[in-house]
């Protein structure tokens, strides 16, 4: 066996199946890698070393008895800190949840445990998943393994950075406006936002309930499909969960094919505002698809231009309500106001929320509270919902002409830490290409499609499919991945600089 941390999840699973390696060794190798590089990357908020090793040993015992709970039994994974994990601290990147240890598991986590995956730890994120860089984490930013001075994307930058830095073969993310796909794009990894309702939200600390969707982070399309099949499918605990069988995603990933596939390039998601290198890599990817037999046409989705505006009304509105529960009454941080002898419940709530929430969270709570206020509701939340309907119609019309839509995942490569922190609008613009999928509930994947010439940093190709047709993402994504890898003579991530700590 070579370096276990460099292997794909699929290869690790095969090796485990053949008895060539133990889950304990794989898990230990990743814990060692975390110990070596995470001081620089800061992908993890909490490392669950003992817990992961215990699960690994159980998995090994099963394997040696000839049993296995799933295709990924024994393959370790990192979980975004937005997920409730029984017995493992969960902060959602916020000081207000400091010290909270959930008494229950999110459904995704329960499925990971049932499938035998050791949980390496909890990954960093923007506070309550509000951000595109992890700079809004109360616990400090994560760093992009391609350039430690740059952001790894957000909100799930910790999960993508962990996968990109070989600290975990797989990770769980959540995507509300691009929080899985944009970090994947800027770290040269894979990220999938499933169809809304395809993966249970039970136990995911809600940002915007109608937009949030958990999904896989990985280094290959096949690995993402393997993980997606473990976590996907109906959950009676989530009323918005889709009661349909998960389509055969692994099979789709293994049979990647582009011939005869009708691919639509979205006019509105490209051109002005997109970095030159991002545009160049995107155009090349499209050419590759044409050569592989895809039928490429340009498709217009005229209402996408209103998507960002609608998103930044719907998200804060729902968030302002979802975050009301953090009031110091039952769990998490409790701050007593200064200079008050016998503070009232109201005063404790105010002091706690003032101290426990960061600026971006407060900004969005204020925005959402305003947008839902009597007299403003129709003009803001009401209008935004109408835009949402129009965007869904744009998708419906587009998918009558084509099988999948493509665009750059993010308009730029990874920016420098601190560069956009004082300019929220510039930060918000990072999600311009990923937001429409969340508003309409359709699935999307981001795969690495090269390095921008001007900065040598990864760019991402986004593929979108109709709701419940997640298998198309994997079929088309795997085909594009194979073509791109062939053009580079190996995965893009192999071109990433070696982390200093990792050489030791």
């Amino acid at each position: 066996m070579g370096d276990l941390t460099r292997m794909s999840a699929a290869d690790l699973a095969d090796a485990l199946g053949r008895g060539e390696v133990s889950s304990a060794d794989i898990t230990q190798a990743h814990l060692d890698r975390i110990a070596a590089v995470d001081g620089d990357v800061h992908a993890f908020l909490h490392v669950n070393a003992e817990g992961a090793l215990a699960v690994a040993r159980e998995s090994d015992a099963r394997r040696s008895a000839g049993e296995s709970r799933s295709a990924l039994d024994g393959v370790p994974i990192a979980v975004k800190d937005v997920m409730a994990t029984r017995g493992i601290p969960t902060t959602c990147g916020s000081r207000i949840l400091e010290g909270w240890v959930p008494p229950y598991d999110a459904t995704v986590v329960a499925r990971l445990r049932a499938a035998g995956l050791p949980i390496l730890g909890k990954t960093n994120m923007d506070e309550f998943a509000m951000g595109s860089s992890t700079e809004h984490s109360a616990w400090g930013p994560s760093h992009n393994p391609w350039d430690l001075e740059r952001i790894p994307g957000g909100s799930g930058g910790g999960s993508s950075a962990a996968v990109a830095a070989y600290e975990a073969p797989l990770a769980i993310g959540t995507d509300t406006g691009g929080s899985i796909r944009q970090p994947a794009a800027v770290t040269g990894t894979i990220g999938v936002k499933p169809t809304y309702g395809g993966v249970s939200r039970y136990g995911v600390i809600a940002l915007a309930s109608s937009l949030d969707q958990p999904g896989p982070c990985a280094r290959s399309v096949l690995d993402a499909a393997l993980l997606h099949e473990v976590i996907g499918g109906h959950d009676p605990l989530d009323s918005t969960s889709i009661d349909l069988p998960v389509p055969p995603l692994v099979e789709a990933a293994r049979s990647g094919d582009l011939s005869g596939v009708r691919v639509g390039v979205v006019t509105e998601l490209g051109g002005e505002g997109y970095q030159e290198g991002v545009r160049a890599r995107f155009d090349e990817s499209v050419e590759l698809m044409v050569k592989a037999g895809a039928d490429v046409v340009e498709v217009s989705c005229p209402h996408f231009r209103y998507g960002l505006g609608a998103y930044y009304l719907i998200l804060p509105s729902e968030a302002s309500s979802n975050l009301a529960k953090f009031d110091a009454m039952r769990y998490g941080l409790r701050v007593l106001p200064d200079g008050v002898d016998a503070p009232s419940a109201e005063q404790v709530m105010t002091a706690t929320r003032a101290a426990g929430f960061g600026d971006e969270v407060k900004r969005r709570i204020i925005l959402g509270t305003y947008a839902l206020s009597s007299g403003y509701y129709d003009a803001y939340y009401g209008q935004a919902q109408k835009v949402r309907t129009l965007i869904s119609r744009d998708f419906a019309a587009a998918f009558e002409q084509v099988d999948v839509l493509v665009s750059p995942t993010a308009p730029t490569t990874a920016f420098k830490i601190g560069e956009k922190l004082d300019d929220p609008l510039a930060m918000y613009l990072n999600d311009i290409a990923t937001i429409p999928a969340n508003l309409a509930g359709v699935p999307g994947i981001s795969i690495p499609n090269g390095l921008a010439a001007e900065d040598g940093l990864p760019t991402g190709l986004q593929i979108l499919a109709p709701a419940t047709a997640d298998d198309r993402l994997y079929r088309v994504g795997a085909a594009a991945e194979a073509l791109l890898n062939a053009s580079w003579g190996g995965p893009l991530l192999a071109q990433a600089p070696e982390l200093v700590g990792g050489r030791a």
Partner: protein
């Protein structure tokens, strides 16, 4: 609270103003589990033992709608002649309060499950006959109950000024139906009676539907009374007060009467009625000012994104219509005919809130007159003494019928029966058990009675002589003597027979 409130005598108030009522009734459903989780709803459990991540509002937990609650809501709507929505949603009502785990209440806002109904109540006219009065129903909607706060210390029992507060979340998430009338106009001087008759009828109807325990003293039926005055019926509606938590039938009547006299005094003095919530004080029978609407909160309602819309099929609605009990007016008329009660007798029963109790007692074998007798005399008195509704007494209609069966069998007389009620109400068990434990059975054994009779005759020779002379009415004095000796536990009719046998 020492400020005196000016009141105008009721008759004078009615001569000068026309009252308009509005009634909002909250009904706790008797479903086995809560509205959005599987926790039990049983009343009286140890605090915070009937809770889970969902009803505690833990981060990440999600609601799942209880289908039985929807069924109950539809049946209530149908029984109130409402239209049932073909499609409706839940909404979040946002406000901060420590007994609300999520700091929003999942309720319905502009899309109630049932709307535009009516019900007809019976109120007495000038001749003492019952007269129908139609109350229009605005809506019946579903929502979840809050937890319970106990504010310890301070003078008001409210959160402000308390030393500390205790919170019990067992009630949080219990299903509620809120039934709201349209403005009830045209009741005139009978407004208090209409209000009481409406709530009494609603309670009987809910009991007949089997959807709630409707125990006002336990809070499973809670009433808010809205009242406004206007100079005459053609004038616009006046400013209303909203009196909260008027939790007995008698209080509903008294609260309406009080608000009429209070508002009339204000208006006559040239003052305005303030639009505000008022607190009802059961002990003193007055209302006091609560929160004024100027300080009222903006609830920022928006559709609940964690739940899917409810679209009850028309087939289901019709199926549920088939399960409805007889409408109240028909029900009442049928019972009156079956029981051969006069209008006055019937009104006494309904007015005492004892219709269902009497009905169930008759069903358990007692005659209507005797069932009425026990409920309206003995039990009504005890309810009054302890300040609870008749139905809240710890005795079942079956037990009342059981006591009467003992009387019918000659095993106890009326006097002993009262002691049996004492025992049952004190929780000593069934009537049979009380009789056995307290040794209450009457003596009808001739040898024991005969000896007592002989002693009585011997001790009262003058009376015995009168009876021998044919003055049978004098037997009463001897019966009294025997009963005294037997400490009341004798069958008086048999004693009389024995005396006459011996002295004729």
């Amino acid at each position: 609270m020492t400020t005196t409130t000016e009141l105008m005598p009721y008759d004078e108030a009615l001569a000068r103003f026309d009252p308009v009522l509005g009634l909002e009734v909250h009904v706790e459903l008797n479903t086995v589990s809560k509205m959005f989780c599987g926790c039990p709803t049983e009343f009286g459990a140890e605090p915070n033992t009937q809770v889970c991540p969902t009803c505690l509002g833990l981060p990440g937990a999600l609601p799942v709608l209880n289908g039985k609650a929807v069924e109950a809501a539809i049946r209530i709507g149908l029984a109130l002649n409402c239209s049932i929505a073909e499609w409706c949603r839940f909404a979040r009502k946002n406000y901060f309060y420590p007994d609300m785990p999520k700091n929003f209440q999942t309720s319905q806002y502009d899309e109630p499950i049932a709307f535009d109904g009516w019900t007809e109540v019976t109120v007495p006219n000038e001749d003492g006959d019952g007269e129908p009065f139609r109350v229009e129903i605005e809506r019946a909607h579903m929502e979840e109950d809050t937890g319970k706060s106990l504010h310890v210390g301070g003078s008001t029992g409210r959160i402000h000024g308390a030393d500390y507060s205790l919170l019990d979340y067992n009630r949080a998430g219990v299903p509620l139906i809120e039934i709201v009338t349209k403005p009830v106009e045209g009741a005139g001087e009978k407004a208090p009676e209409v209000a009481r008759a409406y709530v009494a009828q609603l309670r009987d109807l809910l009991l007949a539907l089997g959807v709630s325990d409707v125990r006002m003293e336990q809070g499973s039926l809670r009433c808010d009374v809205n009242l406004s005055l206007r100079p005459d019926p053609s004038a616009e509606l006046g400013t209303r007060s909203e009196t909260k938590n008027v939790n007995s039938l008698r209080s509903v009547e008294r609260a309406v009467r009080y608000e009429v006299t209070r508002q009339a005094a204000r208006l006559s003095a040239g003052d305005k009625v303030v639009q505000e919530t008022r607190h009802w004080h059961e002990d003193t029978g007055v209302t006091t000012s609560g929160r004024s609407k100027e300080q009222a909160e903006d609830y920022r309602y928006f559709p609940e994104p964690d739940l899917v819309p409810i679209a009850p099929s028309r087939e289901w609605v019709e199926e549920l219509r088939g399960t409805l009990p007889e409408p109240p007016r028909e029900h009442r008329a049928r019972l009156q005919a079956e029981w051969e009660f006069s209008e006055l007798e019937m009104r006494d029963v309904v007015g005492a809130g004892a219709l269902s109790s009497v009905e169930q007692t008759v069903a358990a074998g007692a005659s209507p007159q005797l069932a009425k007798k026990w409920w309206l005399s003995e039990l009504a008195r005890r309810a009054n003494e302890t300040g609870v509704e008749i139905t809240a007494l710890p005795i079942t209609p079956e037990q009342v019928a059981g006591v009467q069966a003992l009387v019918d069998a000659g095993r106890v007389n009326d006097k002993l029966a009262r002691q049996v009620f004492d025992g049952v109400l004190a929780g000593e068990g069934s009537p049979e058990e009380v009789v056995a434990a307290r040794g209450l059975e009457v003596v009808s054994d001739d040898s024991a009675l005969g000896a007592a009779v002989d002693r009585a005759i011997e001790a009262n020779p003058d009376i015995a002589a009168k009876i021998r002379d044919g003055k049978q009415a004098a037997a009463g004095a001897l019966i009294g003597a025997v009963m005294k000796e037997m400490r009341g536990q004798a069958d008086a009719a048999r004693v009389r027979e024995l005396i006459l046998e011996r002295l004729s």
